[in-house]
Symmetry: C3
């Protein structure tokens, strides 16, 4: 049985605008020139990532090189886009992020550098990776790949991660090339994937399972805290969750208390909560919702949430 | 067939006290201000760890950030505790370690910073992670989480790894906050898990399988070299090993030579040896003992070892 | 159906010597004193790698420590050798690489430091890891393990990765010990694994599957671009591929267009291409050749390639 939180509901109300605050405060952090962050679907079992880091170290041995993740599901541009959105708000201005999920490597797809509002640079194939931070992008430049390329790599067509993206990213991070020298500006034109938008409908909110929170198996939706605030749902309420895949019901009328964190439910019991991106999430305390209920993520996975019980209001 | 080592037994006797020496010598290493080491059960598939590193870089872009591991089995506090014990003796004074295995995140469980004898700081939820380095902890302070927290993160309750631990750890490593400013001292009071103690009983030693040495599948016990020295067992002796799970026999009367290293037995043959923490371990040379014999680790897994054959003494 | 590339064949011809150029240009990169790169088969689930990094940080907290990979298949010296060859050309002079795939740890096998033509140092057990960069090694010195060893570690015999290799590698990278102080020179004598050589035979080229390109499942052969150039095969040609394991056919007469990159074939269709090491590779676009056709890597896996269709020549 689930144990509803006894936390006062006004705590949630009080923090109504803190999603915005969170991002704004980070914007005031110190510049981080010399910081290079790498993301890919290369995995870490082979030498691909280490080759990228070698190239970057060859550009400037004093760069601080970090990994976002290299375990994006192969070719999964959506996941790459999601990780950029999840992580970039927490890196300081001046950080250069190289993101390479690139099924079209070596074909006619373009490569770009995007500059964000807060002064990060994202170096990436232009295939949709920027979708979920699109509002944050102030300018995109197309990489002139004949000039911005590791010398001697002209015959290599399947590893732009090393030959173009890591090399250029390192030179940007090291201050050896400026954003405006990368190639021609495209304003804010770049490839965007279709993005389902969460919406309110009567007394229910509808959204998608945007990501599985691994390794735990929690479900992260695209329903923002602001929408829950607008409908007036609070910690202590009881929500009813329905999940469908391609329109076919997968989870029916599952009840979960709205809590601040997992531990306010008994082990194995369902909870609804605001995740660390301040969006609605659903989990089993210390168990995998994704595995127990066979739920995945992506535009085909939709979720509908209603309130079926209210906490006592003060 | 196993090939017993031909190494002279006095080599073992001579080094009787080197477990202590090993730790003492390391204590004289240079301070490492600016070094931050992260451990968690977050895995590296998503953006959690990278968000922590972003926050730390925002605090001070010049921190040197390293990973202990992020592949602790989800919620396994014992494993987190074991890894701290395995690794912290090898990091220099001044290192700040952030350890987040935190099933109770966002509940009433407390958060602490522990200072060790050698001057490391461990930032962690107070849930047992410090158990296996308890003797090394000279003072614990409870984190005042209302003050020591990433500005703007007040509404986020499920990711203290990012919002509190990485942020505070980075500030400690950067010298922006001192240990005595973290919050009130608790002396040496903190949560400790029950720890089985190895013991001698007649001609046998009894202990537990404390950890599986992955990826190899070797069994690491909690039986220290000093206990083997005390009973007088030496390289070249033959040991008989019995392993039980919850009291039920799992491995019966398996014979293994005491060797210096794996390669002194034939491929696939069992060996007993001192592992890199100078505790008794059992392995199959170039094979997985854990998988072959279905053996796991934890307090329920007990081991009994007797000597059934002695090497020729000089 | 596969869609052959429409790229002009002269692009391939023009770049005939760029494999050499690629390496030479990298040789002119800046020195990277203070850079330490670690490779092992330890995985990252436990504390082994973090212990190595702790020891290195204790030597000099300002070292920049990077991972090559730690997910070498346990005990697979061939894979370790392959990764060194794949990655070291992309790291600048002065880089110290520690490579520990060491089934014989603690036995009579020797330990060495190799210096390469471009001024990298490789610290490793002498068990074959240097095989695939043998031409690049100008001098090898045997490590005097009684002197070059973490103080206090004398009783530990199963973790030279921490006690000898990381410690010495860090001291070399930090400039605390010079190459000529490591131990006696052995010239260029070191252990080499047998290496199958690709060869031309009539109108076919014969080679081996040298590595599976994970996580994608592409097959990387040991057939160099120069051999394809010599037989005159070009982008747009159609190749016929046969693969055998221990002489037994595994893949028979599979046709694949020679392309610049994956995306020039339809999803799931086979392609032949030059990989990022400028050797012949075979893949399914956005699918796993290795899994679909049950193909592995190593000396037992041989490949024969013929041209069965020619692109229109200008």
């Amino acid at each position: 049985m689930s144990r509803p939180s006894t936390r006062p509901a006004h705590l949630v109300a009080r923090a109504r605008t803190s999603a915005c605050v969170l991002v704004l405060v980070l914007a005031s952090a110190l510049p981080a020139q010399g910081t290079l962050v790498l993301q890919s679907d290369f995995g870490t079992r082979d030498g691909a990532v280490a080759s990228m880091k070698g190239v970057a170290t060859g550009v400037d041995a004093h760069l601080r090189i970090h990994d976002l993740t290299h375990q994006i599901e192969p070719f999964d541009i959506w996941e790459g886009a999601y990780r950029l959105r999840q992580v970039t708000p927490f890196w300081p201005a001046g950080t250069v992020v190289v993101s390479v999920v690139d099924p079209g490597v070596g074909t006619e797809r373009k490569s770009v550098v995007a500059r964000t509002r807060r002064g990060l640079l994202i170096v990436t194939p232009d295939n949709g990776t920027l979708t979920l931070i699109a509002d944050d992008v102030v300018e995109v430049r197309e990489i002139d790949v004949t000039r911005q390329r590791l010398p001697g790599s002209e015959r290599s067509h399947t590893f732009h991660g090393r030959d173009i993206f890591a090399y250029l990213g390192a030179r940007l991070a090291a201050g050896q090339v400026r954003f405006d020298q990368v190639g021609p500006s495209r304003g804010t034109e770049f490839v965007k994937l279709p993005v389902p938008v969460a919406r309110r409908e009567g007394d229910a909110v509808h959204g998608m399972i945007a990501m599985i929170d691994r390794p735990y198996g929690n479900l992260w939706t695209n329903i923002p805290a602001a929408m829950l605030d607008a409908v007036g749902w609070k910690v202590g309420d009881t929500l009813e969750v329905a999940i469908a895949h391609d329109g076919r019901p997968q989870v029916v009328a599952l009840k979960a208390p709205m809590v601040e964190s997992f531990g306010f439910a008994a082990k194995g019991e369902p909870v609804a909560y605001l995740n660390s991106l301040l969006e609605l999430a659903v989990a089993l305390n210390m168990d995998s919702f994704s595995e127990r209920h066979g739920v995945g993520a992506g535009p085909a996975w939709t979720i509908r949430v209603r309130r079926v019980g209210a906490a006592r209001r003060p």
